[in-house]
Point group: C2
Chain length 338, copies 2
């Protein structure tokens, strides 16, 4: 009998310990700062206050889990976009890598300028030249071949200033924000002007965002039975959808089918996404990353060629949206600083 | 001391009971038939065998949870598509409901024929006439107004034969299959030729599939600042994407960005989705619903106007895909039979 009681007591204490651990866990989490790379201040507080409001059961601003949709721009919001969009760096590298198969590029612009590292000549080719480069580097192969090419590039290419893989130039505070939102029942989406097939191969690993939650620009894709008799999806050199500016709320409607309650961007290309998000009923959050830190990252806004922040900034001030001051609000910028 | 021991013992027994319940739960589930509306036989067994193979950790066919993507056609696969696609019934009802605002329809085809219940005249207008009817009933309003119109219709309209809301004419065995797959870590998607804005408003409630997992045909949508000063998305009378036939694998690539491992359809419009799914590496499942039950539902295949099953049937036989014989394999067809 004594043995039985002793066993019962021992078992009980283990169970009580376990039960207590389980009960205590949420409290322990609540006490651990979910956003350690954000300095204390109004920016951080506006985020945690919003999340508390929409997740408090019975509160006037409570939002059911399925409606907790959060959308994030990518270039300049989740990763760096200087000295130019990383997808352009990818396209440039692809031209160089495949030049031996294209002897005609030695004498044809804009390829000649790019291969000669003639940046003036490249600039002279303008947007049309860039689109030509994107077209030839993003088409003429299957979607699966393209995905492999992207993954090869993310593992080998290095950023000219930071000398690191481009996928390491992601913002630690934003990674924490994504994790924090998901821990609070949000479904996180990327809504970017970048190419959807360029982003999907690496975003699950880097951001924890699966392919089906990545919205982006796209080219026309054609279903066909390939030479091997197997069906394949061939990428054609034709733009189908530009997920930028007014295209962002359109893309959100098309791909997600629900209006976000939380959105983050950093440039005028995000203005309409933020307007669309903020104009919904109930509690809404709209935020912008303002690049103010030339030392740790870059400083640019109204007159930048990539990631221009002008109209969206004015609208943010007018509407009371959060404008994050990177230099002041972020304790850490990149994960590798830690 | 006695009280303490007694308390410990009581507490222990409660905890043991709870612990046992938790441990026992998966076994209890495994013993409960997850597909009670499927008759025992090869069809049911091929489904449960496949799910066992891809979910057995350490097995050669194991598939990690994020890659367990399952796609389902809608018309004729999840709900009835006779005497014609339900979205057409919606469009016809909308023409009738809004006719007072369009006196010109009294003398213009195909509207005149529809308003006069002149089915011969309507048939004479052909596909062009139907597209005209779809265009006027699916555009000229915001996405949110359209969603409300769809929900009004699903709650008031009745099927001509079954005299029930169209959303009750869903297949009980397929509802069970959706639930069973989700319980086994699958993410379930609809991939339908139907309009995405027509499907999303009711599918979460009826199928447990949220808007962001519904892929379909779409019209052009325009972002604008409305009369009230609020941003809105206006539906334009222009087709943007037809998610049928070869469009299905294209739509899957665009919206999901991963190849499914499991797909179900019922007609030639699903052939390429099934080919694309089946051609992937590793274990794959492709299935077709064959409508063989004129008594409980409808019987049709090679020569049907809606949901023609001809080439896909031949391919299924050739490739060894599952062909469900509705009459033989389904114990129950509709939820209301139970």
């Amino acid at each position: 009998m004594f043995a039985l009681v002793a066993f019962a007591l021992r078992f009980t204490s283990v169970v009580i310990f376990l039960a207590f651990s389980l009960v205590a866990l949420p409290h322990a989490n609540a006490q651990t700062d979910p956003l350690p790379s954000w300095n204390e201040g109004a920016a951080k507080k506006s985020i945690t206050d919003f999340v508390a409001r929409v997740t408090t059961q019975g509160g006037t601003d409570f939002v059911p889990v399925p409606e907790r949709i959060a959308t994030f721009d990518n270039d300049g919001t989740l990763w760096t976009e200087q000295p130019f969009y990383f997808q352009l760096a990818f396209a440039f590298d692809r031209v160089k890598a495949t030049a031996p198969r294209h002897p005609e590029w030695k004498t044809t612009q804009p390829f000649k300028a790019l291969l000669d590292n003639d940046m003036k000549g490249l600039a002279a080719a303008g947007e049309k030249g860039l689109l030509q480069i994107v077209a030839v580097t993003h088409a003429g192969m299957t979607t699966e071949e393209f995905a492999r090419t992207v993954l090869d590039w993310t593992s080998t290419a290095r950023h000219p200033r930071f000398h690191r893989p481009y996928t390491e130039l992601v913002y630690q505070p934003m990674l924490e924000l994504l994790t924090y939102l998901r821990a609070n029942g949000f479904k996180t989406f990327v809504v970017s002007g970048g190419g959807v097939e360029f982003m999907r191969p690496w975003m699950e690993k880097v951001y924890g965002i699966p392919p089906e939650q990545v919205v982006g620009s796209s080219g026309v894709v054609k279903f066909q039975i390939g030479a091997s008799g197997k069906p394949e999806l061939m990428k054609l050199p034709k733009i189908e959808f530009v997920d930028d500016g007014s295209g962002k709320p359109v893309g959100i409607n098309r791909f997600i089918g629900r209006r976000p309650i939380f959105a983050f961007g950093n440039s005028d290309g995000d203005l309409q996404m933020l307007q669309w998000t903020a104009a919904g009923e109930g509690a809404r959050f709209a935020g912008l990353v303002h690049h103010t830190d030339a030392e740790r990252e870059y400083a640019y806004d109204r007159s930048s060629k990539f990631g221009k922040l002008d109209k969206a900034w004015d609208e943010a001030v007018k509407r009371g949206w959060l404008v994050v001051d990177m230099k002041q609000d972020w304790k850490t910028v990149f994960p590798f600083e830690k």
